[in-house]
């Protein structure tokens, strides 16, 4: 009985406020004459026409998401590889640190016009923009993680003759993985921003392009559906990231719990 009540309460807690907010939005805009704020009912009705019964899902949303994944994966490979190299060597770290500190501080969106010069306005430019923004949090977090590898583990690995790829994967990357994953999370949210901006600045397709196109043609209801879709995409990707984090770092959460003397 008590468990049932606790579950009911949890569900109520999760759904109550969103339900209230949506109802408020629905009711308050129901007779809205405002040009900027069409009734929520109209927006939801338009979703079907604008996104589901047209080729926009495959022509705009899919290319956006593919570019995001491509750029993100490339940034992960580059960031982790460079991060492990720089983090493992004290001298290399001292050599690179000021430059990295500067490059990281450049707001990534200003690279959109720069990379447009080099790569035009095609997919290459957009993937490069995403890579050049995502790579910094991943790289810097990997450096920090690799730097902080437990000395005792390093010595132990040496005693047991663990070296080469096995040492890299089982010792270095494994120890640094909590920081690496934190970097991935930051990188992904920057990646989404850059995906949208690169399309808003110059593009012929994509989610960001469609939204800005709706705005320019004053199709306000359609624009709202785009904003909602983009918000949903951000939420979905963050949820995926959290699932990945929980799987990849399961050992780490367990370890921390054990160190605190609690049981799982």
């Amino acid at each position: 009985m008590r468990i049932a009540r606790r579950v009911t309460r949890a569900i109520l807690a999760a759904l109550a406020l969103p339900a209230i907010l949506l109802t408020l939005w629905w009711v308050l805009t129901a007779d809205s004459e405002s040009y900027y704020l069409p009734p929520l009912s109209e927006i939801l009705a338009a979703v079907d026409d604008v996104w589901l019964h047209s080729d926009r899902l495959s022509a705009d949303v899919l290319p956006s998401v593919l570019r995001l994944f491509g750029g993100f994966l490339l940034a992960v490979v580059i960031g982790v590889a460079l991060g492990v190299a720089i983090g493992s060597s004290r001298r290399l770290r001292a050599f690179c640190e000021p430059v990295l500190e500067f490059l990281r501080a450049i707001p990534p969106p200003v690279l959109v016009p720069v990379l447009m010069l080099v790569a035009g306005i095609g997919d290459t430019m957009k993937v490069l923009v995403i890579v050049s923004g995502c790579v910094w949090p991943i790289l810097l977090n990997t450096v920090e993680g690799v730097r902080a590898v437990d000395e005792v583990l390093v010595e132990t690995a040496r005693c047991y003759g663990v070296r080469g790829p096995s040492r890299l994967w089982n010792l270095v990357i494994r120890s640094a993985s909590p920081q690496i994953v934190a970097g991935l999370r930051q990188g992904l949210s920057i990646g989404i921003i850059l995906m949208v901006i690169s399309e808003m600045f110059a593009a012929s397709n994509g989610l960001g392009f469609s939204i800005i196109q709706f705005q320019r043609t004053f199709a306000v209801t359609e624009m709202w559906t785009g904003i909602l879709l983009l918000g949903l995409l951000g939420f979905l990707l963050a949820t995926l990231m959290r699932l990945f984090e929980r799987r990849a770092l399961n050992w780490y959460f367990g370890l921390r719990q054990a160190q605190r003397g609690g049981s799982r």
């Binding site: 807690a13 001298r91 501080a105």
Partner: protein
Amino acid sequence: MTSTLTAPARASRAGAASRAARGTTLLGVLGFATFLALLEVVPRSGLVSPDYLPPLSRIGVALAELAGEAGFWTAIVDTVQGWFLGLAIAVAAGIAAGFVIGTIPVLREFTASTIEFLRPIPSVALIPLAVLVFGSELRSVLLLVIYAAFWQVLLQVLYGVQDVDPVAQETARTFGLHRWARIRHVTWPTALPYVLTGVRLAAAVALILAITAELIIGAPGLGNEIGVAQSGGAVARMYALVIVTGLLGVAVNVLARRLERWLLSWHSSLRREVA
């Protein structure tokens, strides 16, 4: 350990440490010099076309020209203004909301799902709305900056408020401290390091969003100048402006860290570093 060392041995150890520190600085300077040299040599050698990446010397000339223009300094002021106003509002709102939600368990329980849903929504999704409602002025920039920076602060404040030591809380209660006194003397000092982490993260994000808004919406500022330079084909000028935004970013990071050190000089994490 240290007490058994003779004075000369101790001195030599200190000497080694300062030598190592000097070596690090030297390597850093060397690294930066290499970076600058590459920026000069790579375009000159034709590895990358100078049309795409002008040699550093030409960017330097463009930078010097910029420094002589009044419009450039107004652009910097515009950008910093949007950044600072947005950040200040987001920090104030984030701290207030964080303390209210964090100290009242029921509120915390009932807002968790909404916060988790709203937080990952990319603030750039609001760009078209900002353009329609506010046009290309400061208010558009502020809307984006505040939305992006607010969540960074709110989340850290919530973590911080949750981190309060229950024993300290009970002790304060036993000594008869009232709700406000408890917030002031127990919750606030515990949460302050988290608040400042939030401010540091928010400061960086706010700068990104301020410049993004200028670049995409065309609100006055450095981002807009970059867009204008790019569409006008003034490549060296564009790179000079990008460098300026980088310097601004470095300044924001340094300032945020200084603030943290200054306000947390009493905190054990910093005291240990000094000792």
